[in-house]
Amino acid sequence: SAVISQKPSRDICQRGTSLTIQCQVDSQVTMMFWYRQQPGQSLTLIATANQGSEATYESGFVIDKFPISRPNLTFSTLTVSNMSPEDSSIYLCSVATGTTEAFFGQGTRLTVV
């Protein structure tokens, strides 16, 4: 398994601002993903963070709202831009280590006021 660290663990932000979430893995991983978990809900895949190229977004998610970077095989960032209260969620980083198994970070609990 991989040890995944996410920062910040939680934040309260003003509407209209942006927040960048960091995901650091203790080893090189093949794939990195970002998920959103709305309060009391399931997990929804936002995008695949591709190393050295633009992220691949799922239906309903766009780069302007959720820009993603992945400069190397152990690090990625997700920015939630121009936030509104509807963006209040837990944002989770996930990695795949070369098998089908995926592991999750602790998540970033975001509240937009």
Partner: protein, 112 residues
């Protein structure tokens, strides 16, 4: 077709009892079915997973039963303990994608 339907939404079981959570899928391209356990304030943790070439997989008190023809799979927790109280998610992915479609989750409460 991309959905994974999970039931029940919530479940209360007595200590020592069997907890059963069910999931169903439509997409026949799915070939990997994990179960995740999530405690409040934590990220989901992989519990157990199965591929369609076997009908059952057991790890300790946790068993996945898989019915390929019915496109259904279930998690059985034997001898349920209060420490098992958590939210459980089933998921599915297609070969080589590593991208999961999650079920809606089951909140399990095991009474002491």
């Amino acid at each position: 077709q991309q959905q994974v339907k999970q039931s029940p939404q919530s479940l209360i079981v007595q200590k020592g009892g069997i907890s059963i959570i069910n999931c169903a899928y439509e997409n026949t391209a799915f070939d990997y079915f994990p179960w995740y356990q999530q405690f409040p304030g934590k990220g989901p943790a992989l519990l157990i997973a199965i591929r369609p070439d076997v009908s059952e997989k057991k790890e300790g008190r946790f068993t996945i039963s898989f019915n390929k023809s019915a496109k259904q799979f279930s998690l059985h927790i034997m001898d349920s303990q209060p420490g098992d109280s958590a939210t459980y998610f089933c998921a599915a992915s297609s070969k080589g994608t590593y991208k999961y479609i999650f079920g809606t989750g089951t909140r399990l409460k095991v009474l002491a």
